[in-house]
């Protein structure tokens, strides 16, 4: 039998690879489309009389709502299969990563199912996002004392 390291090298060399260029193209295309859609929404909210901050918040909320809706309808994962990072990187990906475990674990109850498993995917983003946010805040505060 071929030894393990040699086999691991062979597998690494010969395993089918993801179509990197096509995936990048799809990601930029769909991701760009989502951002362009967000910009259109932003302009619409502004023309309806909102200021910049309100419009920005409303765009985020709208995109999160649409992602959650499409996830619930079972459409989001089909788009994401093609779009990859295009749907994952914008706020749409984060919404999907929270809603999909919630749907999945509904059958296990609202507390021990949805309640404890809703952040199984988004958890790391939340934990380290908050942690490094707080660290940055502390550094910012200390630096501010000397200015």
């Amino acid at each position: 039998m071929t030894n393990q390291q040699e086999y691991a090298r062979y597998v690494k060399k010969h395993a089918a690879r993801s179509p990197l260029l096509a995936n990048c193209f799809a990601a930029f295309f769909v991701g760009g489309l989502i951002c362009a859609g967000g910009q259109v929404l932003f302009l619409l909210y502004q023309s309806a009389g909102m200021d910049r901050l309100q419009s920005g918040t409303l765009v985020t909320v709208t995109l999160i709502f649409l992602s959650a809706l499409l996830t619930g309808l079972g459409v989001f994962d089909r788009i994401a299969r093609y779009a990859g990072a295009g749907t994952l990187v914008p706020v749409t990906g984060f919404a999907n990563s929270v809603v999909s475990p919630a749907i999945d674990t509904k059958s296990e109850g609202l507390v021990l199912g949805v309640g404890s498993k809703i952040f199984t995917i988004a958890g790391p983003v939340l934990l380290y996002g908050v942690l490094f946010g707080a660290l940055y805040g502390a550094v910012y505060f200390v630096v501010g004392l000397f200015h």
């Binding site: 039998m1 071929t2 393990q4 390291q5 086999y7 691991a8 062979y10 597998v11 010969h14 395993a15 089918a16 690879r17 993801s18 995936n23 996830t71 619930g72 079972g74 989001f76 994962d77 788009i79 994401a80 299969r81 779009a83 990859g84 749907t87 994952l88 990906g93 999907n96 990563s97 809603v99 999909s100 475990p101 749907i103 999945d104 674990t105 059958s107 199984t120 995917i121």
Partner: protein, 337 residues
């Protein structure tokens, strides 16, 4: 070490049945399966319950086809992929048969046939045995990977857990497919830790079993109509050829893989092919057994392949271990003993 066990009075498979989900029915073997459910639900309200329904349906089909009552089962061997094999133990509860739950990951169909043959050969008390294995795509995705609606791209080496079940009824004196030789296979450390390339992780175990089988039996692959692996898929099949050819064993066209046969790669997005313990069971029951019964195939070597691992063990730096039990299936003339 004697790894190949020959049975002087080989037990036989006298009936088999299969049930599959929507995607499997859409595949090239679709019409051959006894039953399919386009909702993938099999009467269950959750995916876990759906797999229980699949197990129940599959054994019911086999018993009905054989005109047998559940009381005639002296031994029921079954397994699936859910934690603690709960789908088969719960789904097969209504049959009330003496039960041995088995876990061989995706190799459970081979393991079940092997244990059933041993039990039938060992004691007169066991006259009729049943083997049932199932896997359900949605239950497996939830347990091993990500939520069903999570949007992510899979690597081309990943495999698609089949929603499928296979049931086999065995006896000593009925049927036209005998099991004259068995080999349990050894646990083989693949050295790999990529859960998205199970085919490559199982190939060393399949190679180990195959090399050992042909060495100890003295047979050459030419004596077989096919060498059928469970669920190596495209990746694992290529790796198996590499490993075997390095040792001078060439299977060529004789090698067929249930995970590759179950789907049409041009129409169905199943990455490297099908997997799961229902995959090899359903393909064996629906595709190969009828060929063996009719005599269109005289001998096949069935090597179910399993990846022994858990998501936690991999996260803790563990490697994927493989197991590949081998069962020789031979056409025999029916003799009513």
């Amino acid at each position: 070490m004697q790894k190949l066990w020959s049975l002087p009075c080989p037990p036989r498979i006298f009936m088999a049945a299969s049930a599959v989900g929507k995607e499997e029915y859409r595949g090239p073997l679709g019409e051959k399966f006894d039953y399919h459910d386009d909702t993938d639900r099999f009467g269950g309200d959750t995916w876990e319950h759906a797999e229980e329904g699949l197990a129940y349906k599959t054994l019911t089909l086999a018993l009905n086809k054989a005109h047998l009552l559940p009381e005639s089962l002296d031994l029921l061997l079954a397994g699936d992929l859910q934690n603690q094999c709960v789908a088969t133990s719960t789904g097969l509860l209504p049959f009330g048969a003496p039960f041995l739950g088995l876990y061989g990951a995706c190799s459970t169909a081979g393991l079940g046939l092997l244990v059933a043959a041993l039990a039938l050969a060992a004691t007169d008390a066991v006259r009729t045995a049943a083997v049932v294995t199932t896997s359900h795509n949605c239950a497996a995705e939830r347990q091993f990977r990500t939520p069903l609606e999570y949007g992510a791209q899979r690597t081309p080496t990943a495999q698609w857990t089949a929603t499928a079940g296979g049931a086999f009824l065995l006896a000593r004196d009925r049927g036209r497919v005998a099991l004259p030789a068995l080999m349990a296979g050894r646990v083989v450390d693949s050295g790999l830790s990529d859960a998205a390339n199970m085919g490559a992780a199982m190939a060393p175990a399949a190679a180990d079993s195959l090399l050992c089988y042909f060495a100890q039996s003295g047979d050459s692959p030419a004596a077989y109509d096919a060498v059928v692996t469970g669920d190596l898929g495209r990746e694992g099949s290529a790796m198996l050829s590499y490993l075997l050819e390095g040792q001078g064993l060439f299977l060529g066209e004789k090698h067929l893989d249930c995970g590759k046969l179950l789907y049409d790669f041009n129409r169905q997005d199943v990455h490297a092919g099908g997997s799961g313990c229902g995959c090899s069971a359903a393909v064996l029951a629906a595709h190969f057994l009828p060929l063996l019964e009719s005599g269109a195939m005289r001998n096949i070597l069935f090597i179910a392949t399993g990846a022994l691992m858990s998501p936690s063990s991999l996260q803790q730096g563990g490697r994927v271990l493989g197991i590949a039990p081998a069962v020789r299936l031979s056409h025999v003339e029916e003799s009513d003993g």
